[in-house]
């Protein structure tokens, strides 16, 4: 992983289907963005998020299924708790809060996927410019 990368964790379901739709429509987004598919966002852990930052990433964005539509019922709820914990730790470590974010899309929402990851990346460049 290169310094300055932006890691986008998607779940295998709604979020990944959004990514596939975006691909089929030949959308483009910032080259720093590296999507990583998890079976469910519930797989994420505080340790994984911290490690991504340790290796020099600019930001971590997690996209899963909409609230109450997690295919495993509790995965996105668990991820929410983890992200909140990681966010607090990162704040202590001096990282700006905009560098970690969690969101959701419904299946097939390619446009939304692209829009959300682009916005996240733009937000990060504003943070690094100190705006």
């Amino acid at each position: 992983m290169e310094t300055g990368s932006i890691i986008v964790f998607t779940c295998n379901w709604d979020a990944y289907s959004g990514l596939e739709t975006a691909g089929a429509k030949r959308h483009s987004y910032q080259p720093e963005i590296i999507p990583i598919k998890l079976m469910c966002l519930g797989r994420i852990s505080t340790g994984i998020i911290l490690k991504v930052f340790e290796r020099g990433a600019d930001g971590v964005f997690l996209i899963g299924c909409p609230k109450d539509e997690c295919k495993y019922y509790f995965g996105n709820k668990h991820a929410k708790t983890i992200v909140a914990e990681a966010q607090e730790l990162l704040t202590l470590l001096g990282y700006s809060s905009g560098r970690l974010k969690m969101d959701s899309i419904a299946a097939g929402e390619g446009d939304k996927f692209t829009e959300k990851v682009r916005d996240f990346a733009e937000g990060l460049s504003k943070i690094s410019e100190g705006v």
């Binding site: 852990s45 340790g47 911290l50 490690k51 340790e54 914990e85 730790l89 202590l92």
Partner: protein, 391 residues
């Protein structure tokens, strides 16, 4: 660079320096080792591992189940009649194992080790002193540094267990203020590196230690006070030995409180009904630093009636896990054993002086099936003391 952290020792040197070849095969170490007692996958023991090392079966050492599961409690070293430092041997050998990319199994998803590595960044600007509220007085011109350790981080990580992390830090400042000290609290303090050096990660340890020592020197204080026994031990003994001198006295808050009591400089309200409590000796404070009397003296001064567990002081049992590594069912059995010993005393409360002990015990207590065997209130001594300061 001198000492083990130069990374240059060979396996044979480590074996010789820790006097492993002097083993008499008496088995005392194995009889006290809590891992030997509770590990039921296979029989492992310090004596067996010492024998492997002494007889030159070097390739077997790293593969021994005890190699990473040893909790470095030091009970074996304490008891050995032939002065074999098994605990030191493990610590030194782990440095060599790391070079071969071997590590213990991480617990908590490696989060704690990761934030320690993040802290090796010299440019890091933490926001770690938000817990210093308006009631607490700190100063940028002080001869005393209060070394917070990872308490602000543990406060987040172990909130679900009801860990008293940040309250420990706040209580320490209250106590210091009461005795006329407005301590310096480092805005960019790093993890002390205790877990790293005991797990063989000397690279991270040194980077953390150097960043802390640079800050100590620029502050120019005379004394460092910690609330974590591991920070106290590491800063006091490992920093000068492996990184460099910084010329300051280091003490754990329990030592400081006992000293202030002797000087008559601190007074506690002790008119509460005599509650019976039992004190758990943290390994680094007890066996490693020899501090057994100070916490007990403070407890008496607070008006508690203290009773000892069956295993106490230098024979005290470890809280079951160390370095946030390789924690599992064997460790839980040790935690359960220790809490059971506390319960047997019929004390109303178990008092600790180490946040990690508290986290480990409270984690074991999550098991409600064991409520009758191990259910007992747990509190930190620093907090109990701060709550009873005479106004």
């Amino acid at each position: 660079m001198t000492g083990i952290q130069s990374n240059m020792k060979t396996m044979r040197e480590i074996i010789n320096q820790n006097r492993v070849t002097l083993c008499l095969t008496c088995g005392k170490c194995s009889s006290v080792c809590p891992i030997t007692r509770w590990e039921n996958r296979e029989y492992i023991s310090p004596r067996l591992l010492v024998e492997k090392a002494a007889s030159g079966e070097d390739d077997q050492i790293f593969n021994d189940l005890l190699f990473w599961s040893c909790i470095t409690c030091g009970q074996c070293t304490e008891l050995c009649p032939s002065d074999v430092d098994f605990c030191g041997f493990i610590r030194d050998m782990r440095v060599l194992a790391r070079k071969e990319n071997l590590t213990g199994a991480c617990t908590h998803g490696d989060a704690i080790q990761t934030w320690a590595r993040i802290m090796t960044d010299p440019e890091l600007k933490q926001n770690r002193i938000g817990w210093v509220n308006d009631d607490l007085k700190i100063s940028d011109k002080s001869d005393t540094i209060y070394f917070t350790g990872c308490l602000p981080y543990y406060d987040i990580m172990f909130r679900d267990l009801g860990s008293e992390s940040i309250k420990v830090a706040q209580s320490a400042i209250k106590i210091l203020n009461k005795t006329g000290i407005e301590p310096y609290v480092m805005k960019n303090e790093r993890c002390c590196g205790h877990d790293q050096i005991w797990e063989g990660d000397v690279k991270t340890f040194k980077a953390l230690a150097e960043l802390n020592i640079d800050q100590f020197k620029s502050i120019g204080a005379k004394r460092i006070i910690t609330t974590c026994p591991e920070c106290a031990y590491t800063i006091k003994y490992d920093y000068p030995k492996s990184v460099g001198e910084y010329g300051m006295e280091v003490m754990h808050i329990t030592e400081y409180m006992a000293e202030q009591v002797s000087k008559g400089k601190i007074d506690f309200v002790n008119d509460q009904e005599k509650q019976t409590v039992t004190y758990h000796d943290p390994c680094r404070l007890g066996r490693s630093m020899g501090v057994y009397d100070a916490p007990r003296k403070v407890l008496r001064e607070l008006g508690y009636h203290t009773v000892e567990m069956k295993k106490n002081r230098s024979a005290g049992l470890c809280c079951g896990t160390s370095c946030w590594t390789s924690c599992g069912k064997t460790n839980k059995k040790i935690q359960t054993e220790r809490l059971g010993q506390a319960k047997e005393t019929e004390a109303e409360m178990l008092v600790t002086a180490c946040i990690k002990c508290q986290v480990h015990f409270k984690c074991a207590q999550k098991d409600k099936m064991l409520e009758n065997e191990i259910g007992i209130q747990i509190h930190d001594l620093t907090i109990l003391a701060a709550e009873r300061l005479k106004s």
